[in-house]
């Protein structure tokens, strides 16, 4: 019984490789953080542009969101890593290279900017136009009204959905091992080749991810709860 369990879950084996696994986890976290910043930045630009009064701006933003929402992130990742350098190289007439790390951040960042831009768009639309009108009537510019009146309200409403998207993004960082970023999955596959014991290693990896995500989500929810209590009487 105990041996059978140990074949599935073996903390001792994990502990033995803790240094390598933590380096891997750190890679996941770094790639998550960087691609999250990129995705959020792009999502705000695209989400705001998708509500623009100017047709071409709006159409471009909608096309962008549709394209990246409907393309699997694995395909995007491979495309950025293998195809993008070829295109850049041809354009510049030299040989271009993207490191796996940079490719991973760009690939995941643009993929999730598509989803998140929809969240931004929905958040902005949930703020009634009367909020903007009262700001404009006092002489604020459209930009100031957006920045000071609409966005602060929209962001608070976006948070629950955005947290879901970011959890997905964190989970998606596991696919970066496929372009040889040395994350947990990469380390686990290397170790399981050496140890010949894939079952406890992959089970351990699954649990590790789960724990990290639960802890992070809890922290974030507590934070948003506090924001809500402060601003939303």
């Amino acid at each position: 019984m105990f041996v059978a369990l140990q074949n599935v879950f073996d903390p001792a084996l994990f502990w033995e490789y803790r240094a390598v696994l933590l380096t891997g986890l750190l890679q996941n976290i770094i790639i998550f953080a960087e691609s999250a910043v990129l995705a959020i930045f792009l999502a705000f630009i695209v989400g705001i542009a998708s509500l623009s009064r100017h047709g071409p701006v709006r159409w471009t933003a909608v096309a962008y969101a549709e394209f990246f929402r409907n393309t699997p992130e694995y395909v995007l990742l491979v495309w950025v890593y293998f195809v993008l350098p070829l295109i850049i190289g041809t354009a510049l007439g030299t040989k271009a290279n993207l490191s796996p790390h940079v490719a991973a951040v760009i690939g995941l960042g643009v993929a999730y900017s598509g989803f998140l831009s929809e969240t931004v768009r929905a958040g902005l639309r949930s703020v009634s136009y009367g909020q903007t009108e009262s700001a404009l009537s006092l002489g604020m510019s459209g930009f100031t009204a957006l920045r000071r009146i609409v966005l602060p309200q929209a962001v608070r409403r976006m948070l629950p959905e955005a947290v879901n998207q970011l959890v997905s993004l964190f989970k998606s960082t596991t696919i970066v091992s496929l372009i040889a970023v040395q994350d947990i999955m990469y380390q686990v596959s290397m170790i399981s080749v050496a140890e010949m014991r894939p079952v406890p290693l992959y089970t351990g990896a699954a649990l590790l991810y789960c724990i990290v995500i639960i802890v992070a989500t809890q922290l974030f929810q507590r934070l948003t709860e506090r924001w809500r209590r402060r601003g939303w009487a």
């Binding site: 909020q131 009537s137 002489g139 604020m140 009146i149 009487a233």
Partner: protein, 259 residues
């Protein structure tokens, strides 16, 4: 001389939504310090008229002058633009016109004081301390200084609307526009808002008031216009419009509104 210049001058204002012409040529001068009530059935164009004055609605044609200055591009009846006005000019002229909305439109993520000082800081570029001083002064004027640190959701509708009035007044506008300011309030809360409006009128504020409150229109306004179908159908002092309106439609409207 200058004192007689109309503070608002509207010439042949027209506005269409798609193929529906909501305003069909309105021409009116408003003299400084006067209170003009705009009455009429729903759909008569009164709110649209008010919203065109500060360019929240873009007129289809016609000219609007605020304090002698054209707001927005002046447009000929054939749709041709005669002159341009930048978004910045429009914003600057808007800040001379305080507007109070039917739905209050307070910003729920800011405190009462935050609502009142926001435009002072963002538009008039005041220092925070100076803005707070002015903000408190106007909150005191509407008797809500004790609520300055509350969020709008904690206030009654009447209190919210008084904050909205203080927010508009703090910009020290030349004209106040009231767009059915009491229409979404419970009957027992309209009184406190109308009281603030009466006080303002007594102080000599120029006011354009779109309203269903016939009592206010009769007692507080210097002049009443009755809009019907996008046109001014009746225009006169409160006494004239209420006791001897020339238009039969206006007469019917008033008697049904008073009963």
């Amino acid at each position: 001389m200058d004192g007689d210049r109309p503070i608002i001058r509207v010439k042949d204002l027209r506005k269409s939504f798609g193929s529906v012409e909501v305003l069909r040529g309105i021409t009116i001068d408003v003299s400084p310090g006067s209170v003009l009530s705009i009455i009429g059935a729903s759909g008569s164009g009164k709110s649209t008229f008010l919203r065109c004055l500060n360019y929240l609605e873009r007129p289809t044609s016609g000219d609007i002058f605020v304090d002698g200055e054209a707001i927005g591009p002046s447009i000929a009846p054939n749709g041709q633009r005669k002159s341009g006005a930048s978004p910045r000019d429009i914003a600057r002229i808007r800040s001379k016109l305080g507007m109070v909305f039917q739905q209050f439109n307070l910003w729920p993520h800011m405190t009462v004081l935050g609502n009142v000082i926001e435009a002072l800081i963002q538009v008039k570029h005041m220092r925070r301390r100076e803005a707070v001083e002015i903000g408190q002064q106007f909150l005191a004027k509407v008797n809500l200084l004790n609520k300055k640190d509350e969020y709008p959701a904690k206030l009654s509708g009447g209190q919210q609307q008084r904050v909205a009035i203080a927010r508009a007044l703090a910009m020290q506008p030349k004209v106040m526009l009231f767009d059915e300011a009491t229409s979404s309030l419970d009957p027992e809360l309209t009184g406190e808002v109308l009281e603030v409006m009466r006080d303002l009128a007594r102080e000599g504020m120029t006011m354009l008031v779109v309203t269903h409150e016939m009592g206010f229109a009769r007692d507080a306004s210097d002049r009443i216009i009755f809009l019907h179908d996008g046109k001014v159908e009746e225009d006169g002092t409160a006494a004239q419009v209420f006791s001897a309106p020339a238009s039969e439609r206006c007469q019917r409207f008033i008697s049904s509104a008073l009963s």
